[in-house]
């Protein structure tokens, strides 16, 4: 019997980026969900436990911090949360850390590095 594929949720409101992440992580052995609106993200994360959340900070219906606060309140925090953003601001990086993210990455992260880091974070969370 093969081990279940880790569930990776891509929270990103740009369909082009969602599609790219789906192709990348599906081919790298993950079960991938994608969503761009915070209601949809919370719906997925509370009904189907997420191993790793790749969270864009700018979303439809709110921002990434709203998602993290709601998931924490609902007891549905993913095992690992990683913020992805287009703006490299130290104060945002600090906020991400305080909100429970292991890292804030500046888009675009080279795909090889992203797959490697995701694997390492999940192995470290076990």
């Amino acid at each position: 019997m093969t081990a279940p594929r880790p569930h990776l949720l891509v929270a990103e409101d740009n369909q082009l980026v969602c599609d790219a992440m789906r192709v990348l992580f599906d081919a790298s052995g993950y079960r991938v969900s994608t969503a761009g609106h915070i209601a949809e993200i919370i719906d997925i994360a509370t009904s189907d436990p997420v191993d790793l959340l790749l969270l864009d900070l700018g979303l439809s219906g709110g921002d990434g911090f709203d998602v993290l606060a709601t998931l924490r309140a609902e007891g549905a925090m993913p095992r690992v949360c990683v913020a992805l953003t287009g703006r490299d601001e130290p104060e945002t990086a600090l906020r991400c850390k305080e909100a429970g993210c292991v890292a804030m990455l500046l888009k675009p992260v080279p795909s090889r590095d992203l797959v490697r880091m995701v694997g390492e974070w999940l192995a470290g969370a076990d």
């Binding site: 790219a20 990348l24 287009g86």
Partner: protein, 260 residues
């Protein structure tokens, strides 16, 4: 109540003030637009680069040499575009006073070593000699490491761009006594085409290129030196140049050491 006679100097001054306020409001809108559009351009670029990297890394199957070459072109072009968009975003944030400094202590020599490695392939492709003379023993800088790297990176990028094959480019640094105490003075020089003294101030202006003609050989956003100046000023420092047409350029910037 004090009334202003129409046509008087006071009335004209009042009109001029209103006009300035209107122009400043328009300029600020334009800056905000630049920041927004730069940010929005990064997202589709991310998708393009990620898809190309998936193909390059063989995640969807093995490609031929020629296909890999073509994919490398997409990735390099995408990354170059992304860098330019990043420069516009930094400029817009600087113009809107939205840039801040995150200070830490670091060795300048480490930053220069890193930049040297980043520029190595370009330098050898152009047949240039890159010399760095930054002692490990210089006092630690207390500054925003990323922004200092950005300043030197922009100056170095220009030096490489404007120096013809066989030329020399260098980075050096020393501790000196400035107008307000000790400072670290960094020099980025080259044996390139040089800049006429009448253009020395112009090169720091946004979107300025000394050769602005359609046939110009050096491309870019024209923001590199404007951003460098902004980032130096954010550190309370100064930036200047010494150059003559045909005799290379030497750009200097000074960042103060914290007073003891």
């Amino acid at each position: 109540m004090h009334s202003v006679a129409p046509g008087s100097v006071e009335a004209q001054l009042e009109q001029a003030r209103e006009r300035i306020a209107e122009l400043e409001a328009g300029d600020s809108l334009k800056t905000q637009f630049l920041a927004n559009i730069s940010h929005d351009l990064r997202t589709p670029l991310t998708a393009v680069i990620t898809h190309a990297e998936i193909l390059r890394d063989g995640i969807l199957g093995t490609l031929t040499e020629r296909q890999l070459e073509s994919i490398a072109g997409i990735i390099n072009g995408g990354r170059q575009l992304l860098e330019q968009v990043g420069e516009i975003l930094t400029y817009a944030r600087g113009a809107a006073n939205q840039l801040s400094i995150t200070g830490s202590e670091f060795k300048l020599s480490d930053v220069v070593t890193q930049l040297r490695a980043l520029n190595e392939s370009l330098v050898s492709k152009k047949g240039l000699e890159l010399i760095s003379d930054v002692s490990d023993d210089l006092p630690l800088l207390t500054a925003d490491r990323e922004k200092v790297a950005h300043i030197i990176g922009n100056l170095l990028g220009n030096a490489i761009d404007f120096t013809p094959q066989g030329g020399r480019v260098w980075v050096s640094a020393k501790c000196a006594c400035g107008p307000n105490g000790a400072e670290c003075v960094v020099e980025v020089g080259d044996t390139g085409i040089g800049i006429d003294s009448e253009h020395h101030e112009l090169v720091f202006r946004e979107f300025a290129q000394v050769d602005a003609s359609a046939s110009r050989q050096h491309h870019g956003t024209g923001l590199g030196l404007t951003i460098a100046r902004k980032l130096v000023e954010l550190h309370g420092g100064r930036i200047w140049l010494e150059s003559e047409l045909g005799a290379g350029s030497r750009f200097f910037f000074a960042i103060p050491y914290p007073s003891k």
